[in-house]
Amino acid sequence: MSYIANTPGQQAAMLQKIGKASIADLFESVPEPVRLDRLLKLPPSLSEVELTALAKKLAGQNRHPGELACFMGAGAYDHFIPAVVDSLASRGEFVTAYTPYQAEASQGSLQVFFEFQTLICQLTGMEVANASLYEAGSGVAEAVMMAMAATNRTGPVLVAGTVHPQYLETLRTYTANLEPEIRELPCPAGYLDPAHLNAAVNDSTPCVVVQHPNFDGSLEEIEELARISRAKGALFVQVFDPVSLGLLKGPGELGADIAVAEGQGLGSPMSFGGPYLGLMACREALVRKLPGRLVGQTVDRTGKRCWVLALQTREQHIRREKATSNICTNQGLYAIRASIHLAALGPAGLRETAQHCLDKSHHLLRLLMEKKVGALAFERPFFKEFRFRLADEMPGAALCVDQLVGNGFLAGVPHPANPRDLLIAVTESRTLEEIEGLANALAALKGSAGRGA
């Protein structure tokens, strides 16, 4: 089965028109010695009926947040996705279109991307947003490369030790062969101490990268950090959580020059890690260094308002090795999903969602403390996720997570820096019953495995 429309009779007629005797003759330019003289070793072809059965069987071998209450986060969250998002974003006219190179044939996607850029500006308080990057990790790397190009500074890039370790690792991979050193600023108290940043930043620093809420879920002294960075002329890069902006001050208000985020929480299923949505916004003055596609408003030849890809001279297909980035295909459909999602929530829905996250996460912490399961690893304010240090009589974090799958919970993410710490996220999707259930189930593990990782 390969979705071929042409019948054998048509194929013969087409070959005749071409003037070839056989299909094999069409491949004459492939040298004989490298032609494959066997079939590929692949599993046999399946009908839709068999394929469906196989996919269901394998999907059934997974335990998943459709049946388990998910308290895992660390950059991917079980936020509720309204039906309008799935329904509208699954339209073939969006799903099976290419990048909007031909403006007249793509006004639908172009207008949505223009709306997306506007929504991200409204959300963040920043002046310009692009039409998406892959996800947050490479987004952080792009932000740092952008800051280097914009400042022409070659000193160490300063990154708070509380940034998501996978984003930091991605940044290191991207910049492995480039000029700047990536310097991680230790955060022994679970947040970046402004005094520490003040001592580290100087006028050769291209940028400072801080995540707020940080990897542990805690809030940073973000305004102070931004002020210190900018006083030294270093660009301030804030990694943010879009859902948090229902309550928290946005990167624009806080003084960020570049804002980057994982946009998964805006309508993307968790899907084992992707596709997600890289968000990037910046100040107007930096727009010509911004990576990725931008949609601009203009008029057509009759004066009608319309939309096109703008500032393409930044991009690889024109600038080649001098481009601001190598990105081409981005996450278009997931930007469309986020646009529908944000429009469906609106300001009140976003605020309500954020308030639920705040209230429910704090309630779970309260219950866990009451039951003496442990305590916050660091006493910091947090939004929807917290780093919880398990009491001595509790098993290690990984064991807790493994154990509680049987009780119907994905209890959290074992913290990569300490086997006693569990990173617990509570979104608006969690019910009071699930929250109480997790607290009880964790409490019941006390003493079960003794201390250990």
Partner: protein
């Protein structure tokens, strides 16, 4: 019928006080944060009613051309049919809702799919190992070049240059720059293939990688490929295959067999991950055995007892190029597609893609110049150079007029080595009838009054946007009046 209902900008159809999504009471006590962290008012997002929202996006979608509605011969993009069964199955809760950091024992079904995908992509490549992590073709290129850099560093070799043909996609030199290499351009010869003399003159012990797209962006298989890969290997360099054009050679020949050491796939082209109006993609890379230790982490491994694992502990790995595993939703579609095709079907894809392209070429070549058009693989590049000279009709004019006729245009002005380029890729899923109708339409367009072409399209909602203004005074977001 023109339907403009609810198609103003979202911000123009909004009204304060409208709601769409609401939540039940939280049932828990309310918490607060210190005022220094919180905002006065929520972000000024639009407030829309659900029906207006639905009409807005539905009616906007109708302003797109798409494979589901139109023949879309956009060269280099492989706009083949995207099977509906994939969309249904990828949405199974046991796949779509998985958290990326769940314990391996809770994701055995997903890991089995990804493991098999790695193995199938390695077999199709004729290479040893595969990383599914890169998010798109360009990120695959970057990942592989970083692998090459790490490999040479490990061997104590200082190689600083990446050679890129002038017909290559812009992502190739852009990726080379990020990976820390100087990119050096290799000329194409008269025949549109790699100019061997130019390659030879630029190949030396500074060469880390030669990036080749084969079939190349002219739709030609470079028959010198064994000579080329031999020359690069002789100087100790590696050969990278840009796999954007794999739709031409699946099961016909394998990159590993013709000397490539690494390559990327575009799952969103060759293996039908839908393009989604610009993404998501997925750009897995396959590499030869000596490069395997350097691949991004994690990879999926299988224990002797059949248990699958995400393996993170790989000391020579370049590390991550993104967070989490990869664009899994796209990879699962690729897996579903390959399981549907089987070994015969995979080969048929390329046979029929090449048959369709050659048939279309045969229908068109007496009507428009196809500079290297004796034959082709899965696509060919026509040139409107003569028309431009004789009638002032450009490739863009032709492209725009085709839109009037209900066809998406070919890729225009790429590759850069052909003047007034129209790059045409029909793909295997189109019928002879569609190709006949398209050819007849294109031929009639070529004969039309230039004045009609200059002002086309005439039948779409807009025509010839002012792109210069959009770049000179960019308006990149809506602002309230």
């Amino acid at each position: 019928m023109e339907n403009n209902q609810s198609t103003g900008l979202l911000f123009e159809i909004a009204k304060p006080g409208r709601r769409c999504h609401t939540l039940p009471p939280s049932g828990v006590p309310s918490a607060t944060l210190d005022a220094c962290f919180t905002r006065q008012a929520p972000p000024p997002l639009p407030e829309v009613a659900e029906l207006d929202l639905v009409r807005h996006f539905t009616n906007l979608s109708a302003r797109n051309m798409a494979i589901d509605c139109n023949f879309y011969p956009l060269g280099s993009c492989t706009m083949k049919y995207n099977p509906k069964r994939h969309e249904r199955l990828v949405g199974l809760p046991g796949l779509a809702t998985l958290h990326p950091l769940q314990p391996d024992q809770t994701t055995q079904g997903m890991l089995a799919i990804l493991y098999e995908t790695q193995a199938m992509l390695a077999e199709i490549a004729g290479l040893h190992a595969c990383s599914l992590q890169p998010a798109a073709g360009a990120q695959g290129e970057l990942s592989a070049l970083l692998v090459a850099a790490a490999y040479f560093r490990h061997r104590g070799e200082n190689r600083t240059r990446v050679l890129v043909p002038d017909s290559a996609h812009g992502t190739n030199p852009a990726s080379a720059a990020i990976a820390g290499f100087d990119s050096v351009t290799i000329k194409s010869g008269e025949d549109g293939l790699v100019d061997l003399a130019d390659l030879e003159s630029k190949l030396d012990e500074r060469t880390a990688v030669f990036m080749i797209t084969n079939p190349n962006t002219l739709g030609l298989f470079d028959h010198q490929i064994l000579e080329i890969t031999l020359k690069v290997h002789d100087k100790g360099g590696l050969v990278y295959l840009d796999g954007a054009n794999m739709n031409a050679i699946l099961g016909i020949t394998r990159p590993g067999d013709f000397g490539a050491d690494m390559m990327h796939y575009n799952v969103h082209k060759t293996f039908t991950g839908p393009h989604g109006a610009g993404g998501p993609g997925s750009g897995p890379i396959a590499v030869r055995d000596m490069l395997e230790p350097f691949l991004p982490s994690p990879v999926v491994t299988r224990d002797p007892d059949g248990t699958f694992r995400l393996k993170h502990d790989r000391p020579l790995s370049i590390g991550r190029v993104r967070s989490f595993f990869g664009n899994v939703g796209v990879l699962v579609r690729g897996w579903l597609y390959l399981r549907t095709l089987g070994p015969d079907g995979v080969r048929q894809v390329s046979e029929q893609a090449v048959l369709n392209a050659n048939y279309l070429l045969a229908l068109l070549k007496d009507h428009i110049e196809v500079p290297k058009g004796k034959g082709c693989m899965h696509e060919f590049v026509a040139s409107a150079k003569a028309l431009r000279r004789e009638k002032r009709v450009s490739a863009m004019d032709i492209a725009k007029r085709l839109l009037d006729k209900g066809y998406h245009s070919p890729t225009v002005y790429f590759p850069l080595v052909v003047a007034e380029a129209l790059m045409i890729e029909p793909t295997e899923t189109e019928s002879q009838e569609t190709l006949d109708q398209f050819a007849a339409t294109l031929i009639s367009v070529l004969g039309e009054d230039p004045a009609v072409l200059h002002e086309s399209p005439h039948e779409l909602s807009i025509s010839r946007p002012d792109e210069v203004a959009a770049t000179k005074q960019p308006v990149l977001r809506w602002k309230s009046a």
